[in-house]
């Protein structure tokens, strides 16, 4: 075993020697992650906003469930999706097991509660300020949800980034439903797990660094969009 810093050095070197296999894996990681986060936002943002903006019976129960589901164990989600998509499962005929689509489904299930629960909190705080004004204007429920989401968009960016962070780093669910098949469903995190189990710790760390770099780039892009927009319109 090399020294700690030695391994880091080697990791950086490995990053510099670009490789077509690595690029393929990175692209699939990005595709799966971004699709899942997008889907999670499409479902989780309105859901969180509804729970955050309205009072209804059993609301506290819903909030507890949403908060709890932030702790869905990836392996459990992976297993459930596997059982659904397995040839002997109810959706087996679709033949989705061991495809990127299956991975997107699993990740969406994992990330949606995170997006929804955090959105609920953000929208609840904003709604405290807006609700009477909205009621006075006669804003209908759907418009209200959209208006709250729109006005909270800069705070919600952080929520989406939390979802992205979870999805991009996730391995437990995608390895079960994707199978970590070379050139088909191998992504960054499953590769890192594989190389770790092969004892190639340097390579695993190098890939981890690349993964973080990708996350940095995504974050910078989003912050840049936010920054420009904020300067123009937000207070």
């Amino acid at each position: 075993m090399d020294s700690f810093s030695g391994i880091l050095m080697e990791a950086i070197e490995l990053i510099l020697s670009w490789d077509s296999d690595v690029i393929e894996i990175i692209m699939l990681s990005l595709r799966v992650t971004l699709c899942a986060v997008l889907l999670a936002c499409v479902i989780g943002l309105p859901l969180g906003a509804i729970v955050g903006a309205f009072r209804f019976p059993m609301r506290t129960g819903v909030v507890v469930v949403m908060n709890t589901l932030m702790g869905l164990p990836p392996v459990v989600v992976g297993l459930l999706v596997y059982l659904m998509l397995s040839a002997s499962g109810p959706m087996g005929v679709l033949g989705l097991l061991y495809t990127p689509t299956a991975m997107i489904i699993a990740q969406t299930i994992l990330v949606t509660p995170i997006v929804a629960a955090l959105t609920r909190q953000v929208i609840e705080d904003l709604n405290l300020e807006y609700s009477e004004q909205f009621a006075s204007l006669g804003v209908r429920p759907i418009e209200r949800i959209f208006a709250l989401l729109w006005d909270a968009r800069y705070s919600l960016l952080t929520v989406a980034l939390a979802g992205f962070g979870r999805a991009v780093a996730e391995v437990g669910a995608v390895i079960i439903v994707g199978g970590n098949i070379n050139h088909v469903t191998r992504v960054m995190t499953t590769t890192i797990a594989l190389e770790t189990s092969k004892g190639n710790l340097q390579l695993a760390l190098a890939l981890g660094l690349i993964l973080l770099l990708i996350a940095v780039v995504v974050n910078i892009l989003l912050m840049a969009i936010r920054g420009t927009a904020a300067r123009a319109a937000y207070v």
Binding site: M1, A87, L194, K198, G199, N200, L201
Partner: protein
């Protein structure tokens, strides 16, 4: 064709050795069939195959494999190849077993010395073989679990990482060991006992039970692996000049 592929349910030890990366491109070149390997724990691989989520099962746990066929989940089991298990240990060799070839005696020594031993503890083929060896040696490891006997509940690679980190003896298959990248200054301590034989088998998942099984392509793969050409490819696969698997198809 785009979807001319089969799924092989296999174990991490086969995958980690690099054999598939070496062998499968040759098969695809010859037949045009892409082989997608899902490498998981032995138990999970068998379960997945029993669910019909694969066309071919390629593992090393003979008793379970025969049960798999007996349950009607598989068509027929064939021996493919073998390698052997070894016990690796730290250079300090706290139990003084280095160089031994009588595995039962070595295990008794380890137990008597209370030297750390990392077991996979995951019901895998390797784990089952290890438990059998302990039993032969007359050591009750269940009682020592959490003490010197440490069940890591991980795959072979994880157990090697963990075991080397805690200066423990570890039983592993030779192929995984040779290709393992995090050996540190570990060395093989015990090897060469006939009891440490590790047989791999291959089974076509029963298409009568699971209509989605691609029986034709799956059988083609099995036939190729068992053929002289396939067996030669297995024998040819070497790391650092060492042969990892020994073909023994009948």
């Amino acid at each position: 064709a785009q979807d001319d592929f089969i799924i092989v349910q296999s174990t991490t030890s086969t995958q980690n050795s690099g054999l598939f990366d070496y062998m499968l491109p040759m098969f695809q070149k010859e037949t045009g069939i892409e082989v997608r390997v899902v490498a998981v724990g032995t138990g999970q691989a068998i379960k997945n195959a029993a669910n019909g989520d694969g066309d071919v099962l390629f593992v090393h746990a003979k008793a379970s494999e025969e049960q798999f066929v007996a349950d009607g989940d598989g068509v027929e089991r064939s021996d493919v190849m073998y390698n052997d298990f070894v016990i690796v240990g730290p250079p300090s060799d706290p139990a003084g077993v280095a160089g031994m070839s009588d595995v039962a005696a070595a295990m008794v020594k380890i137990s008597d010395a209370g030297a750390a031993f990392a077991s996979r503890g995951d019901d895998s083929g390797t784990h089952k073989a290890e438990l059998r060896l302990w039993k032969d040696a007359g050591v009750d490891v269940a009682a020592a679990s959490g003490g010197w006997y440490r069940e890591t509940g991980s795959g072979m690679g994880g157990t090697l990482n963990t075991g080397t980190g805690m200066d423990a003896y570890i039983m592993t298959d030779r192929a995984t060991w040779i290709s393992f990248g995090n050996k540190g200054d570990y060395q093989i301590a015990v090897e060469g006992d006939a009891k440490m034989f590790n047989q791999y088998g291959i089974i076509l998942v029963n298409p009568e039970k699971h209509s989605n099984v691609k029986a034709e392509q799956g059988q083609k793969f099995i036939d190729w692996v068992l053929s002289e050409a396939g067996q030669a490819v297995i024998a040819d696969y070497k790391i650092d000049g060492q042969q990892l698997f020994f073909p023994n198809a009948k």
